[in-house]
């Protein structure tokens, strides 16, 4: 470590740029891997099972509680204006445009992203990735591209499940517990959600899915290049933590950017 603070700043700048470049190449190779033969269909299926189906429980639990909280909270606020008839609209719009995509991505990052990062990190430190290279088996095609495909496929579906379960949770809280009329809940929801809102939600879920799988697999793959990670088992645990934190923050930042650009 340099002692001169300016030199240290320069070092960090160079490191960040290098890291960004590395990750960009990583992304390109992962996409190239999708088109290489033989295509590992079974592996994609396994990853959908892990990322998608495996996350269903946690997504449903999160969505139900989020929806119910939105229902109660929305009722409390709207009631002040005598506008509780718009509860359905408030709940569904916040879920479809914001909370659905964002919370799904965060849950996937925490559950599947961390596991993917640790898996690749361990494969790296135990030379398994080098071994693939040495057998002339492209590690991207073999390991990473199936994860990308599965994530790009699973995250939007999970988001849709999140939205629907959340809307149902809002219904339970607002209609069953608070006594909003069922008709106005559903009616206001149908009246205010437009195709544009749905599209925004879908675009977000795709982008977030990509960000999570990209950052998590990339961190694991480059476990040796990451500054301050150290060596051995400890480096994998540190890098995994970093991957989850980094992908969560990136998702939140991109959420703002996408909303600003596409709203």
């Amino acid at each position: 470590m340099q002692n001169n603070p300016i030199a240290r700043l320069g070092d960090t700048g160079v490191y960040v740029l290098q890291d960004l470049g590395r990750m960009t190449f990583f992304l390109l190779k992962a996409f190239r891997g999708v088109f290489r033969r033989p295509f590992r269909f079974r592996e994609v299926l396994r990853q959908v099972h892990f990322i998608g189906a495996g996350s269903l429980t946690v997504i449903i639990c999160t969505a139900a509680t989020t929806g119910m909280v939105l229902g109660l909270q929305g009722f409390y606020s709207l009631n002040k204006f005598g506008a509780e008839g718009w509860l359905g609209s408030a709940v569904s719009l916040s879920l479809i445009m914001e909370l659905g995509p964002v919370l799904t991505a965060l849950m996937v990052a925490g559950r599947a992203g961390s596991a993917m990062c640790a898996e690749l990190g361990i494969m790296r430190i135990s030379d398994q990735i080098d071994a693939l290279d040495c057998m002339a088996i492209d590690p991207f095609r073999y390991l990473i591209s199936p994860k990308f495909l599965a994530a790009l496929f699973s995250v939007p579906l999970l988001t849709a499940v999140f939205d629907v379960v959340g809307i149902a949770g809002g219904y339970v809280a607002g209609v069953t517990l608070m006594g909003v009329s069922p008709g106005s809940y559903i009616e206001s929801m149908q009246a205010s959600v437009t195709n544009h809102d749905l599209r925004l939600g879908i675009i977000k879920s795709f982008v977030f899915g990509l960000l999570v799988v990209w950052i998590c697999t990339g961190r694991g793959y480059f476990v040796w290049e990451i500054r301050g990670a150290g060596f051995g088992a400890e480096s994998v645990s540190r890098v995994t933590t970093q991957a989850v934190v980094m992908s969560s923050i990136t998702v939140l930042v991109f959420d703002y950017l996408l909303t600003a650009v596409l709203l």
Partner: protein, 261 residues
């Protein structure tokens, strides 16, 4: 095949240090590895043994100089040519680098399945023969985590042999093994080499035990290389770092070995 299997010409490899400046791991080294023979690369830790292997496999690139494999310049090789080159190598990694999620059978058959057009039956036959020769019959369905260190090395060796490599690279074959297993691995190694006739490179700090196998020994120290063709030559060297190396790594075992002869 005539000429050396691998040749390094003035190869330079440096790593940046965190404190600024660079650390020279290989300082313009030149050496060649003869075809069909066994070469041992030795040296203390951090002296660039693994780096040398990675340079041969193009997992790392040299900062200067050229590297040749059977006369072909592979220093900047890319893409398809690199894939073809790598299929000519068999590698046994330090920890065997078996895939945790695959069984022994799946691990060993992986290169055949991914790199050849053989049918499942042909793959099964070939893998069966190798497993039997290495004493692994009956363990096909086990996962690497269920195997002992020595067994894992054998599975790694079996996997490395599947594509009939011309050159076999062996990274620290005996770390973490007890003396019996070490002997076992070397015996299997010598047997298979006698049958298949590949050139081999063994990276090890475990000099005395592999002298029986080595046709040539390369000792790495502070970026320089010294090439020896017999144990006596090492023992009699007047260079200070070699004497130091002999004292610390060979010690008495080597002395007794010499007496036996």
């Amino acid at each position: 095949m005539n000429g050396p299997a691998i040749e390094f010409r003035e190869v330079l490899k440096v790593f940046p240090k965190r404190s600024g400046g660079v650390q020279t791991v290989l300082d313009k080294v030149s050496f060649s590895i003869p075809t069909g023979k066994t070469t041992v690369i030795a040296g203390g830790s951090g002296q660039g043994k693994s780096v040398t292997l990675k340079l041969i496999l193009c997992l790392m690139r040299a900062d200067a100089g050229r590297i040749f494999v059977h006369g072909q310049d592979v220093t900047d090789i890319e893409g398809k040519a690199l894939e073809d080159l790598r299929t000519r190598f068999g590698v046994l990694f330090q920890g065997a680098a078996l895939f945790d999620s695959l069984t022994v059978y799946e691990n060993v058959s992986l290169p055949l399945r991914e790199r050849t057009k053989k049918t499942e039956k042909e793959i099964g036959d070939q893998v069966g023969v190798t497993l039997e020769r290495l004493g692994l019959t009956g363990h096909e369905g086990k996962y690497p985590a269920q195997l002992s260190g020595g067994m894992r090395k054998r599975v790694g060796l079996a996997r490395a042999l599947q594509l009939k490599p011309e050159i076999l690279l062996f990274d620290e074959p005996t770390t973490g093994l007890d003396p019996v297993m070490t002997q076992d691995i070397y015996r299997l190694f010598a047997e298979t080499q006698a049958q298949e006739g590949f050139s081999s490179i063994i990276v090890s700090h475990d000099i005395p035990k592999i002298f029986s196998l080595a046709d040539q020994v390369i000792i790495l120290n502070e970026g320089k290389m010294d090439v020896f063709t017999s144990p006596e030559e090492i023992q009699l060297s007047r260079q200070e770092h070699i004497r130091e190396f002999v004292r610390t790594t060979m010690g008495e075992i080597y002395q007794s070995h010499l007496v036996e002869r």
